[in-house]
């Protein structure tokens, strides 16, 4: 069924179709609409979800943790500072191996306070032990949320299903919805082997872990994250069978014979694909890789996809303040290290706090890549674009 929905409404609709047991609900721009729409479904009796309103995001995640441990499938939505306030509980959810599903509507983190899109919120939580899946558009936001539970519940890790704030969450697009019965069959029932409400078998969750055990439990978590990669592909293949829509760990766009490529995450892919198409018409062998799954990071697969490229630019929509490039760059460059012949690689930090990205900006990046490919000189490996500056003649973009 084709329908016109915003990204937030699409995710709320996916939640309705799944009919989860519990929602921990707290509003924050731009994710507020998700619990708002869902509250209507609850009020209308369209779902039988226990809708728990709380006083903070620390508590909304705590509600999800307790409910999931009790054996109830739990969902949540947040953005920016809300995700930051959950920070402690994100780790608790992951380390207690509770497969909660969180819709993260990406927004810049304070300060200065800003409500617009970048990836600094979820990138800050990248080491929390959550699977992270990023959507380019409303359709992907909807599809990714439906695929989240069959992945997370299988490997016992929580899943953050991310989309870009406002650009995706509030823009209205035509998307294809799946039949509710088919969604329910695909997602299935949440059937944990052990849970707090299983009366035959009392359970303790989250006991104190002394140093003689902690390391072993972290290895278990690390192994689960590695296993998640294969599971993501299995679930994507099953999803394709009934939806007709194909997903991988990342999307390769016009990469077959690409000499120059950009690597990025999220809605900017739409803009960058348009730029790639334009460049292709002019004979430039341009390509694009859109990373869909950031955790687990598809390092080997990405290295293979970039192995034939002469020069590539990683586009980071979060700073990271490592003074050595953004988080996507760090992961990508690390992944390329094992290649015998590596492409030249630069990092462009862009789009912070809602700074717009235009096709011309992407074309400028490709122009720079063309120069790097010819001269072999990368110049400033790590630079920012889109900011005002005193001189237009400074190095970089």
């Amino acid at each position: 069924m084709s329908i016109c929905l915003s990204g937030n409404e699409a995710v709320a609709f996916a939640m309705k179709q799944i009919n989860p047991d519990v929602m921990g609900a707290f509003p924050i721009t731009p994710s507020t609409e998700i619990p708002e729409y869902f509250a209507q479904y609850v009020a209308n009796g369209e779902v039988n979800t226990e809708y728990v309103t709380v006083e903070s995001e620390h508590s909304s995640m705590s509600v999800c943790i307790a409910a999931e441990a009790a054996g109830a499938r739990s969902v949540c939505a947040t953005s920016s500072c809300g995700l930051a306030l959950m920070y402690e509980m994100l780790y608790v959810a992951a380390s207690n191996r509770l497969p909660i599903t969180l819709a993260c509507v990406n927004r810049a983190l304070s300060g200065p306070i800003n409500i617009n899109n970048d990836h600094s919120d979820s990138m800050g939580a990248r080491d929390a032990g959550w699977i992270q899946i990023y959507a380019e558009n409303n359709q992907e936001a909807y599809d990714n949320f439906i695929m989240a539970m069959p992945v997370g519940e299988n490997v016992r890790l929580p899943v953050m299903s991310c989309m870009d704030g406002f650009i995706t969450s509030h823009a209205v697009e035509n998307i294809e919805l799946l039949e509710t019965d088919a969604v329910r069959e695909f997602v299935g029932e949440y059937k944990p082997e052990n849970y707090l409400l299983k009366k035959e078998n009392p359970l303790a969750v989250g006991p104190y872990d002394i140093s003689a055990y902690y390391m072993e439990h972290k290895v278990q978590q690390a192994e689960a994250m590695k296993a998640a990669k294969a599971r993501l592909l299995v679930v994507a293949a099953q999803f394709e069978k009934f939806s007709g829509r194909r997903y991988g760990l990342f999307e390769e766009y016009r990469m077959e014979d690409a000499e120059l490529a950009v690597v990025l995450i999220g809605s900017s892919a739409g803009t960058a694909k348009a730029a790639v198409d334009g460049l292709r018409e002019k004979g430039v062998r341009a390509g694009l890789i859109k990373v869909r799954v950031f955790r687990p990071f598809p390092g080997e697969e990405l290295a293979k996809a970039l192995s034939k490229v002469k020069a590539a630019a990683v586009m980071d929509k979060s700073e990271g303040f490592s003074a050595n490039g953004g988080p996507l760059f760090a992961e990508t460059r690390s992944a390329l290290y094992d290649l015998k012949e590596r492409p030249y690689l630069i990092d462009i930090v862009y789009g912070l706090g809602g700074r717009d990205l235009k096709t011309e900006d992407v074309e400028k990046i490709f122009a720079r890549l063309a120069e790097v490919a010819v001269t072999g000189k990368t110049g400033d490996v790590y630079s920012h674009m889109g900011q005002r500056r005193r001189s237009q003649h400074e190095s970089g973009l």
């Binding site: 078998n201 303790a204 006991p207 055990y213």
Partner: protein
Amino acid sequence: MIKAKDINEQTPWEDLTPGGEIYEPGTAREFDTGTWRTDTPVFLADACKHCMLCVPFCPDSAIPVKDGKRLQFDFMHCKGCGICVEVCPFAAIKMVSGGEGA
């Protein structure tokens, strides 16, 4: 399903429960937490009237009761906090320094 008593500091990571979950209640009984003690209560049986006030006050359930009489402390679980000494109306418990007692 693995029991807590079958898990120890030699258990490999593959055999531990996910997230350290424990699939049974009351596993504190299995662990010798009395080693944490730096002061030790001494039970003076002659002075004890078996009023049982000390029993519910003990935070570690370390004062066993049988047939209406309190028995010697369970030193495997007593942490030596001394609350029992404070609540005893008959001076039937005294504290001595050291984890092993006097």
